[in-house]
């Protein structure tokens, strides 16, 4: 089910809408278990940097120099993670930046630690940057640890209350209330949230 991705894409779209007329930058990344080999920390952080630079329409001189220098190495050489992180922190300091990372649980665990550490470094270098992440609850602890006390968490799973509230509201709009009795209403309010939890 793509619900987590929906969640991220809604936030990314909302942020992109805010970019119009403001000094805002948005970069997103969607983890996908099927692409885990390609989604290394260097490729992931590199893609965030790529999006931010693409928005600026300019490249830091330091990166241009490293790009030209690496061509002399056999087969070329990638920009290394510490350099990418440093550049991300510098570029995100130029304007208010939002970084969205979807499905962090689909990232390889050892890569996840590295990426969270890198995001923490970017935040320390650029305190106005905002990071939005989604993932299954078992990675909540490690995320909060790596990102210090900067994390606010929202649980999606505990929203059964919302379903009940919603059902009661809809039952209140029933056009044939004579077909309803309190026993049926209680069954609906009890069983539907359970059914949803099991899907």
């Amino acid at each position: 089910m793509l619900t987590g991705h929906y969640d991220s894409s809604v936030v990314v779209d909302y942020l992109c809408d805010q970019v119009m007329g403001q000094d805002l930058a948005v970069a997103c990344f969607y983890y996908d278990f099927a692409s885990r080999e390609a989604q290394s920390p260097i490729n992931m952080l590199g893609s965030l940097l790529k999006q931010l630079l693409s928005g600026l329409g300019a490249i830091p001189v330091e990166i241009v120099q490293k790009f030209r220098g690496q061509k002399r190495a056999i087969g070329g050489r990638r920009l290394q993670l510490p350099d990418i992180v440093k550049m991300c922190a510098a570029v995100t300091s130029l304007q208010r930046t939002f970084i969205c990372v979807d499905a962090l649980d689909e990232c390889v665990p050892r890569h996840r630690l590295e990426v969270l550490g890198a995001l923490g470094q970017i935040l320390r270098g650029s305190p106005n940057t905002r990071i939005f992440m989604t993932g299954r609850s078992h990675i909540r602890g490690v995320s909060e640890r790596e990102l210090g006390g900067k994390t606010t968490s929202i649980s999606i799973a505990s929203r059964e209350d919302d379903i009940v509230t919603y059902l009661r509201a809809r039952l209140g709009q029933d056009t044939t209330p004579e077909a309803m009795d309190s026993s049926l209403e209680n069954d609906i309010v009890k069983n539907i949230p359970e059914e949803i939890s099991e899907t």
Binding site: T3, S9, S47, V61, I139, T151, T152
Partner: protein
């Protein structure tokens, strides 16, 4: 993105925008961007948007957690609101999130375009 900022870049070959970083316009930009990463998350974003039902998930944008995170800069004083720098949205797959997200906006009679 800031238009004034981009204009400046076009006017000068390179310039110092802060103590830490000097930006430059270069013909090598496409090659450099490809060198930084072969991945294109924007493509994935478009794919997901196409599969998404309109207005799904908008409730999140109205939560106090999201507003606190988004507006954190104004609330945070000297530290730039870094107490709210990260918003982590967690849940197990298949808890019916898409159902809620599909229905709630219509219940509230408001929406947000993809």
């Amino acid at each position: 993105m800031s238009r004034a900022f981009t204009d400046n870049i076009n006017s000068f070959n390179s310039f110092n925008v802060s103590g830490d970083i000097i930006l430059t316009a270069t013909d090598d930009e496409p090659k450099i961007l490809a060198w930084l990463s072969p991945l294109e998350p924007q493509v994935r974003h478009q794919d997901i948007c196409e599969q998404r039902v309109d207005n799904v998930g908008n409730w999140l944008l109205e939560t106090k957690e999201f507003r606190g995170w988004y507006d954190g800069r104004e609330n945070g004083g000297e530290n730039g609101g870094s107490d709210h720098a990260v918003l982590f949205c967690y849940g197990e797959p298949g808890v019916g999130k898409s159902y809620i997200w599909y229905e709630r906006p219509s219940m509230r009679n408001e929406g947000h375009d993809c």
